[in-house]
């Protein structure tokens, strides 16, 4: 109810003339900033576990070493309280800190560069309303030579596309809005676009799926098998809004994205995102060589599936609506990279819990019950059962995900 009132108030104000766009005390400006802060999911990176929201300190692992997220509360000494508007915009959109230092692109400024200045200042206006938290963070924890920020000049030269985003007149306003959200504030490609050896986005493969921090963020282009080609616009909207639909449940890092960000966005914006994603050019699917149904690994995997998975995901991989995701036809299951699938079997998973779908169903860990070979057979079966098609998975791939030092399945009693 309160939300409905707030939304109505926002809508009413939005109709008013865009009078004081830079007025930091404008209700409209602050509410708009709060919405964009949610869209950007700023809180996810700028909050340490158990820490105050936006006070920074979260460790962000990169291939080059660790960074700590800075404090973005308006504390003058340790946060962004002393920043001028220009300093704030320069940091967020150009990756240049308040002292002129180059910022590491863990802050996805190449995305925020696509945003318009008004929106960035709205975020500033919202952040200014937070309680200042004194929390000094030294973001740079990188080893030599990556700790030398001048290296970023070179990085930016190669990876930082400064082309501004302008509306494509041949496309609908919704498509343009969707592109703005995806390529700007929501920075979807930060996870879903493969990276070059330098850690920059490989734009030739934009949104075609990537491994990040031990999870595979799947292809979100309209590839029919491993992307969202088979998803309807309505399904995409419902997924982003609720986190749980019949064909898929948001889990892992995406569960956090749904809970913190997309579930709180306006339906019209989610629709715009869906329209934009559905309009992308699908990549050419790698032709996988699926194992035959009588392959011994497939047979072993099927037996394990029947024993340990079918009670929830059902014999034919159909799942249970709103609780246990469908595996048959799942794009995540058929992704070229099986990392996430292996990880879910080993570690278990918990679906996003949202107002619309509050259950947050959990899948238990099977690391203690299955050997690497058993997980490999199981995952191979799931990737190729019921009409699915994807490459086989080897025991060594499972061992890599397990980290080589996972629990000994023989000590199966260690379950708590």
């Amino acid at each position: 109810m309160m939300r409905a009132v707030a939304t109505a108030a926002l809508a009413a104000l939005s109709l008013a003339a865009p009078a004081k766009a830079t007025d930091q005390q404008s209700f409209e400006q602050v509410q708009r900033g709060r919405y964009l802060t949610t869209m950007g999911d700023c809180v996810a990176c700028h909050t340490a576990p158990g820490g105050k929201p936006f006070a920074g300190g979260l460790t962000i692992a990169t291939p080059f070493g660790n960074l700590l997220s800075p404090n973005i509360t308006p504390d003058a000494a340790t946060g962004i309280g002393a920043f001028s508007d220009d300093q704030f915009v320069n940091a967020v959109q150009n990756g240049i800190g308040s002292r002129g230092q180059r910022l590491y692109p863990a802050l996805p400024y190449p995305y925020y560069h696509k945003m318009n200045r008004t929106d960035v200042l709205a975020i500033r206006a919202y952040l200014n309303t937070l309680d200042p938290v004194s929390n000094a963070v030294e973001p740079n924890q990188l080893p030599f030579p990556f700790n030398i920020r001048m290296s970023l000049l070179f990085w930016n030269l190669i990876n930082f596309d400064r082309t501004p985003l302008t509306d494509d007149p041949d496309q609908s306003p919704q498509w343009n809005r969707g592109r703005y959200i995806v390529e700007g504030p929501a920075h979807c490609g930060a996870c879903h676009t493969p990276k070059t050896w330098l850690g920059g986005d490989d734009n030739s493969q934009a949104l075609k799926g990537a491994v990040l921090q031990g999870w595979f963020a799947p292809d979100i282009t309209p590839d029919a098998r491993k992307g969202i080609g088979g998803w309807s616009e309505d399904e995409l909207v419902a997924y982003l809004k609720t986190g749980v639909i019949a064909r898929s449940s948001a889990s892992g890092p995406m569960a956090e994205v749904v809970v913190n960000s997309t579930s709180k966005l306006a339906d019209a914006d989610l629709r715009a995102v869906a329209i934009y994603l559905k309009g992308l050019k699908p990549g050419t699917s790698q032709s996988s060589r699926p194992p035959s149904a009588d392959d011994p690994h497939m047979l072993a995997g099927k037996a394990i599936y029947k024993d340990s998975c079918a009670a929830c995901h059902r014999e034919e991989g159909d799942g249970i609506a709103n609780l246990f995701p469908r595996l048959k036809g799942s794009s995540l299951v058929q992704s070229d990279d099986p990392t996430t699938l292996i990880r879910m079997v080993l570690e278990g998973s918990r679906a996003a819990a949202t107002d619309a779908r509050p259950t947050g169903a959990a899948m238990p860990s099977f690391a203690w019950r299955f050997s690497d070979g058993q997980v490999a057979d199981l995952v191979t079966y799931i990737r190729n059962g019921w009409g699915n098609s994807a490459s086989s998975v080897s025991a060594s791939a499972v061992k890599d995900v397990r980290g080589g030092n996972g629990p000994d399945p023989v000590k199966a009693g260690q379950v708590r």
């Binding site: 249970i320 609780l323 509050p358 259950t359 169903a361 238990p364 379950v415």
Partner: protein, 588 residues
């Protein structure tokens, strides 16, 4: 001394079904609610992992989810002439522990009590005359009627996703359902579960001798379901690990599956687990509760002030909480005065076991509430004229499990171990099953609960003392219905039939039922009840007491469905009446 905390609008003692329901309803009304639960936090993801949830040794034998006697126990005696001794290992009944309470470990049979059960004394007097009620029975009306509760039965069934078949829709008898049930405003939210062989055989036999079997109403979901709160259940997998276990499949209705994930999202609700309430505090007048005092696991005491205190513990512990807090006058069987502890009752059960040749029942395909029942001899569904007793029992064929440790049916006379036992086990495991009669339990002057004069708990508080034995009336009733089960058994033509009738004295050792009811009963007269019809204390109007402790006597049904209905009924009264004008909702 206890450290005083900031005050809350509502303090709830215990976070099981009723605590979760009241907290959710009152948080929705905008109140600031805290639930204080003495056991641990439990949820499906963390506590009922499918990888180890069906561990019979851990959960069914070592009773992992249950209250330890070292936490709290009670003393027991059969009658006033005995000295009660402490129960050092729970047996006949098993109180739960932790978030979810009995809603975690139940089998999931979800019944509505019969309309006549709610006005028992009035009904029997109208039909048979006052003289037909045995003098030693203290049975009475509930002060609330079935019709008043009907919308709240419906609400609870929809929250819990109950599977069943209506037998009476708005007065029209429906084929396939229970023709004896009270009129329902709506069908069950889910259809009945898929029937297994033994209950199917029972139903055919019961029908052949003129009875009216129907699918037992089940809280084990027959299909995928999303309840009015947006919480989802998965279809039951018929694994047969229900009673004594948490369900890992989101299939058995529980606070964890059906209420708590929504409640826990609310910023105006807080659950404080591993915190045990010592007593409800009263002001100087003794007519107003000021909050509770509780102790955390480090032994530190806290005072939690609150405007409204709601007792949502297991029924027995609600009664003890009132006795320890001095709320209401304790019952004294010598003078027949006082109310708290009066009219404790139980459940009068019997069974008939059958051994077959050439039949295979696959008992491991089961659920705690998957079966068939017949109500022909329940309550006052049959003419009691000349029978010498009142009350009745549901006849149930609900083979709840085929678990390897506990389900080893063997014919009487089989040795308890060795090759003969193994042989008999092998022969009988799949070819035997039981039927039960779950009977009413009618109250007497001598069956009651008070505080023990000798034994104390780890905090120095007196233990609760239970004085109970089966009245003659109930023994006769149970024997009568057991004979009806034998009629059904004979119609199935088994090789061997074994009848297990209820006898005296009642023993607290073998498991019988955790349907302990009464002791803080509701009613229309403060002289004979603790609570008014809205479950509000007559003496301290800002205290409400939920649960089966409010039942003036027990009927031939599992209590949970009515517990759920009463919780929604009380929550509705608090929201629509009490909050507008805090004070007694019924004038004494």
């Amino acid at each position: 001394m206890a450290r005083k905390l900031p005050s809350k609008d509502v303090v709830i003692i215990g976070l099981g079904w009723t605590g979760a329901i009241l907290a959710n309803e009152l948080a929705d009304a905008g109140l600031d609610v805290v639930a204080i639960e003495r056991g641990p936090w439990r949820d499906t993801a963390e506590s009922f992992n499918v990888g180890y949830a069906p561990d019979e040794l851990r959960f069914a034998i070592r009773l992992d989810l249950f209250l330890r006697p070292a936490q709290e126990t009670l003393t027991f005696r059969n009658n006033l002439n005995q000295t009660a001794l402490p129960i050092r290992q729970f047996g006949s009944f098993l109180p739960g522990d932790g978030v979810g309470g009995a809603g975690v470990h139940w089998n999931g049979q979800n019944w509505r009590y019969h309309p006549t059960d709610f006005r028992l004394r009035s009904h029997l007097t109208e039909r048979y005359g006052a003289a037909a009620i045995p003098d030693d029975l203290t049975i009475q009306d509930w002060g609330v009627t079935y019709d008043e509760l009907e919308p709240f039965f419906d609400r609870f069934e929809k929250i819990a996703g109950i599977s069943g078949k209506a037998g009476n829709l708005k007065g029209a008898i429906q084929p396939g359902g229970n023709p004896f049930e009270g009129p329902r405003s709506d069908e069950y939210p889910l259809p009945p579960m898929q029937m297994t062989y033994a209950p199917t055989l029972f139903a055919e036999a019961a029908r052949s001798v003129g009875y009216h079997p129907f699918p037992t109403p089940s809280a084990n979901a027959s299909a995928a379901y999303t309840n009015p709160l947006g919480l989802s259940m998965a279809p039951c997998t018929y694994c047969g690990f229900c009673e004594r276990f948490g369900c890992a499949n989101y299939s058995k209705a529980s606070p964890q599956v059906n209420v708590l994930p929504v409640l826990m999202r609310k910023s105006n609700f807080e659950a404080r687990t591993d915190c045990e309430v010592l007593k409800i505090n009263l002001d100087g007048s003794g007519k107003r509760a000021t909050g509770v005092t509780y102790v955390d696991t480090s032994g530190e005491e806290w005072e939690q002030p609150g405007d409204l205190v709601i007792c949502c513990a297991f029924s027995l512990f609600n009664v003890r909480m009132l006795l320890l807090s001095g709320i209401g006058k304790p019952y004294d069987p010598a003078t027949n005065e006082g109310v708290v502890g009066r009219n404790y009752s139980y459940q009068t059960n019997s069974s008939v076991q059958m051994f077959f040749d050439n039949k295979t029942f696959n008992p491991f395909i089961a659920s705690g509430a998957l079966g068939q029942s017949a109500d022909d001899f329940n309550g006052d569904n049959f003419d009691h004229t000349g029978l010498g007793f009142i009350g009745g029992a549901g006849m149930n064929c609900v083979p709840t499990n085929g678990r390897p440790i506990q389900t080893r049916p063997v014919p009487p006379g089989t040795p308890n171990w060795g090759s003969a036992w193994k042989k008999a086990t092998k022969e009988s495991y799949s070819s035997a099953f039981s039927m039960t009669s779950q009977g009413s339990s009618y109250t007497t002057r001598g069956n009651y609960i008070d505080l023990d004069p000798t034994y104390k708990d780890r905090f120095g508080r007196p233990l609760m003392r239970m004085t109970f034995d089966f009245p003659d009336n109930d023994i006769r009733m149970s024997s009568y219905v057991n004979d009806k089960l034998l009629t059904i058994a004979k119609a199935m033509n088994p090789r061997q039939i074994v009848a297990n009738k209820t006898g005296r004295p009642y023993s607290v050792v073998p498991y019988s039922s955790t349907h302990n009811v009464g002791g803080a009963i509701m009613g229309a007269d403060p002289k004979t009840s603790v609570l008014n019809k809205y479950l509000q204390s007559w003496d301290v109007p800002n205290v409400f007491v939920m649960g089966a402790s409010a039942y003036p006597q027990n009927a031939g049904y599992n209590p949970t469905g009515t517990v759920g209905a009463l919780a929604y009924w009380a929550a509705h009264a608090i929201r629509t009446q009490y909050l507008k004008n805090p004070g007694p909702l019924v004038q004494a």
